[in-house]
């Protein structure tokens, strides 16, 4: 009776888990090039671990049902060779399943996110502060101006140095709004002014920590026009939960038009 109850529980759970993941629809619709490949890795792990999960619980189910009655005591023990053969077989299978995911499917994704950027890459800087995202573009000269934490002030949240000629045309968006063109690789330089933050956009399948004292990089190619949320993924203090920003992905023409309208930080008075 108890064995059957346990067996039924495992059966119901297995069916429910598989049905739940098979139904899908949980992941926000993917909106970046490498994100689609992350999804492939996730799908691969879902399928392979799902098969192992089902087999394991099917065997558990069968043993519980089969041996719950009064089975005569058996003195047959699996030989040492049999035990080792099973162990090695399972080990080999698991090695294959797990390392295929990492090496065959996973490696190219990492190469894309952390590899050499293409020539037409768009550079942007994201600076995390409690509890906001500061965005900067290098401007027409394509070079970021100097910043200095000592210059940080309410009117100058990045501490951009007025005396550096390269700083004049830098475009600063202080309100957590990152604007990007579609179908073009965006390479972000990420810094933090205070504590750890993590730049994550669920639709892009991107997550990159911001670490004070250190410039991190990540890159991705948005594939769909739209507005997405930037969520801070690393605990950064009492406002962590509301450190929300937005990414606006525009068509390339719209982006060019938007960029042309922007005024450099120390331009135009």
């Amino acid at each position: 009776m108890k064995a059957i109850a346990l067996a039924v529980f495992f059966l119901v759970m297995t069916v429910a888990v598989v049905a739940g993941f098979a139904a899908g629809g949980l992941r926000p619709e993917v909106a970046s090039a490498h994100g689609a490949r992350v999804d492939t890795v996730v799908d691969y792990v879902l399928c392979s671990s799902g098969v192992i999960f089902v087999i394991g619980h099917a065997v558990l189910f069968w043993f519980l049902v089969r041996y719950s009655g009064s089975v005569p005591v058996t003195y047959v023990q699996p030989s040492s060779a049999v035990q080792w053969r099973w162990a090695l077989g399972v080990a080999f299978g698991m090695a294959l399943v797990s390392e295929v995911g990492v090496l065959v499917l996973g490696l190219p994704v990492w190469a894309e996110v952390y590899g050499e950027p293409p020539a037409d890459v768009l550079d942007a800087e994201v600076v995390g502060v409690q509890f906001n995202w500061l965005i900067r573009y290098p401007g027409k000269d394509g070079v970021y101006g100097r910043t200095d934490p000592k210059l940080v002030a309410e009117w100058n949240p990045l501490g951009l140095d007025e005396d550096d000629p390269k700083a004049a045309d830098d475009i600063v968006l202080p309100n957590g709004r990152l604007v990007l063109p579609v179908d073009r690789m965006a390479r972000l330089s990420l810094r933090s002014h205070d504590v750890l933050h993590s730049f994550s956009v669920p639709q892009f399948r991107t997550k990159q920590d911001l670490i004070p004292g250190f410039v991190a990089h990540t890159q991705f190619r948005p594939t769909k026009v739209g507005t997405y949320e930037i969520a801070c993924a690393e605990l950064c203090g009492l406002g962590h939960y509301r450190m929300r920003g937005t990414v606006v992905v525009m068509s390339q023409e719209d982006f060019a038009a938007w960029l042309a309208k922007q005024v450099g930080y120390y331009e135009g008075g």
Partner: protein, 573 residues
């Protein structure tokens, strides 16, 4: 150890400042239960806030973070570590290896009495200015280093660090004792390959603990220096708070993460391996068969232990480490699934041709088998660096570690307590209450932690005070309410367990037999409860392996210390 001696006569010497490993083990278990009630109540506050954010306006964001931090810290270190490693390790190891006590009884007593102030310091931190530590159980700087970063990083974090330091002192003394006792104090005939699997797991867990905890000690001391002496181990230059640039320079917060996870990842196996060890003990007695693959289990656990100290970087995939290093960590991390798959196989295959006896300990043990599977497979999603980009810091992680170091460990603790309770107290637990507790614990635990995996699949981020700030997670947000309801059910069920435990220890039916489960290992050859020195006469001589079930026609089981057989040995096929 010489002969059994009389033991202490006073109440204080017998039950309070005892050097008897069995008393110390039970002291640890009861301390862990008390801390579990606190940590469980904290979980209920978290779940109330998450399911009904409007209702919980008394819980401010900073208080919420303190509660999340303390729930994690207490559960990992002061409940699971204390109960499973310090509690059961103490009680079981000398009995199973045939020793009269731990190698260093005084050190053993000290290890417990260092834990007590650690517990009080942790609990006291709720009542200081700024509240308890709020930087997460991982306590990452700069958040944990600077009071201006979060209110809990004031005195609360100082107390947190001091309590952790005391805890590590305690666990180090305990591990030294386990290691020495297992290596040097075994009964005659107890060769390594005759040791019960539980003893193997404690041996491996002690070595891992001794290797890994010093890294956290160093990190805790460096963090204390950064906080109070103006050093900059973890603090870089150029940090700006409230318009002021901090004077620190030259440090990096990443150093702390490396040190923390150099402990943090092995710590998982410090906890999970003994959980699997206890489960194997229970499986053997309630299937009436030796566990499948004793040797492959031992070797697998050794491989797990070696791998566990070289994979810590998988907690840091998103920190911007060199992709080649990230790829290395990913490759070795998922390698852990290989020995774990063998352990999973051995757990399941132990039921093959079993003479199943489904008393409460076995119910929990079967629950552990399934939880090991789910927890292990969940690790694949996170260990694969490419998919971790999506799952990192999501509820998938929360669900995953609540399966591995939550469900596996708790169910195995219950399996162990219900199994050895008659030996501990000489009385029986109420079986009906245990069965009820099993169902009311396993079903909600599995359901709520599986639901968290789905929420993580939906991208929901952990440590989020109010999830309604975002729109991306709307698809999985509805699960907050059922999870919270199940959390309350689970907590309620633990009250049944506590009532059963204390009620039965004081008023339960007395056991008639020294070996009520007809098990084989040495602890069942002692009087009940075992006296000071464990065996009234000579220490038993071990004649055979730990699981001599169903191998001698005419005898269902043979105790490890039994020499003569009625039927000829070697009748096994």
């Amino acid at each position: 150890m010489s002969d059994a001696h009389g033991g202490p006569k006073t109440f204080l010497g017998k039950y309070v400042f005892s050097m008897d490993h069995k008393v110390i083990g039970i002291q640890y278990l009861i301390t862990a239960m008390a801390m579990a009630v606190v940590a469980g109540l904290l979980a209920l506050v978290i779940r109330t806030q998450l399911a009904f954010p409007g209702l919980g306006h008394e819980v401010k964001p900073e208080t919420y973070l303190s509660i999340v931090t303390m729930h994690g810290t207490l559960m990992v270190f002061f409940v699971i570590s204390l109960g499973l490693v310090s509690g059961f390790g103490n009680w079981l190891i000398p009995l199973q290896v045939g020793a009269r006590d731990m190698a260093y009884p005084l050190l053993n007593m000290l290890s417990y009495w260092v834990t007590v102030p650690a517990c009080f310091l942790m609990l006291a931190s709720f009542f200081v200015e700024g509240g308890a530590a709020a930087a997460g159980w991982t306590s990452y700087p700069p958040l944990s280093a600077l009071p201006q970063a979060v209110p809990g990083s004031g005195l609360g974090t100082t107390l947190w660090l001091l309590a952790m330091a005391l805890f590590i002192v305690s666990i180090t003394m305990g591990s030294l004792n386990y290691l020495t006792t297992i290596l040097n104090c075994r009964a005659p005939g107890m060769s390594m390959m005759r040791m019960p699997l539980a003893v193997w797991t404690y041996l491996i867990s002690s070595v891992l603990g001794l290797l890994a905890f010093p890294a956290l000690t160093a990190a805790a001391i460096m963090l204390l220096f950064d906080r109070h002496l103006g050093t900059s181990f973890f603090l870089p230059s150029g940090m700006v708070f409230g318009g002021h640039v901090l004077p620190n320079m030259g440090g990096t917060p990443l150093l702390f993460q490396h040190l923390f996870w150099f402990l943090g990842h092995p710590e998982v196996y410090v906890l999970v391996l003994p959980a699997i060890g206890l489960t194997f003990e229970v499986l053997a007695a309630f299937t009436r068969r030796p566990p499948f693959g004793y040797r492959s289990s031992v070797y697998s656990m050794l491989v797990v232990a070696v791998l566990s100290v070289i994979v810590w970087g998988h907690h840091m995939f998103t920190t911007g480490m060199d992709p080649r290093i990230g790829e290395y960590f990913s490759v070795v991390t998922v390698m852990i699934t290989i020995p774990f798959a063998v352990l999973g196989l051995n757990l399941v295959a132990s039921l093959w041709r079993a003479d199943l006896r489904l008393a409460a300990p076995m119910m929990y043990a079967i629950g552990v088998i399934s939880a090991v599977g789910i927890g292990g497979l969940g690790g694949l999603y996170l260990g694969t660096a490419a998919s971790d980009m999506y799952f990192h810091d999501s509820y998938f992680v929360v669900g995953h570690f609540h399966f591995t170091i939550g469900t596996v460990t708790f169910l195995s603790l219950f399996a162990g307590i219900t199994f050895w309770f008659p030996k501990m107290f000489g009385r029986k637990l109420n079986e009906t209450a245990s069965q009820l507790h099993f169902w009311l614990t396993m079903v909600p635990m599995f359901t709520m932690f599986l639901l968290m995996h789905y929420q993580g699949m939906g991208g929901l981020l952990r440590r989020t005070y109010d999830t309604s700030v975002y729109e991306y997670n709307v698809g999985s947000r509805w699960m907050m309410v059922p999870i919270s309801v199940l959390a309350f059910v689970t907590f309620g069920a633990q009250l049944i367990f506590l009532a059963n435990f204390f009620g039965s220890a004081l008023f339960g039916k007395k056991v008639e037999s020294d070996n009520p489960w007809q098990a084989t290992t040495l602890e069942w050859s002692t009087p009940t409860p075992p006296p000071h020195g464990n065996w009234p006469g000579a220490v038993p001589v071990v004649e055979r392996g730990p699981y001599d079930y169903a191998s001698h026609p005419g005898a269902d089981y043979v105790l490890q210390a039994q020499a003569q057989m009625a039927a000829p040995v070697g009748a096994s096929a």
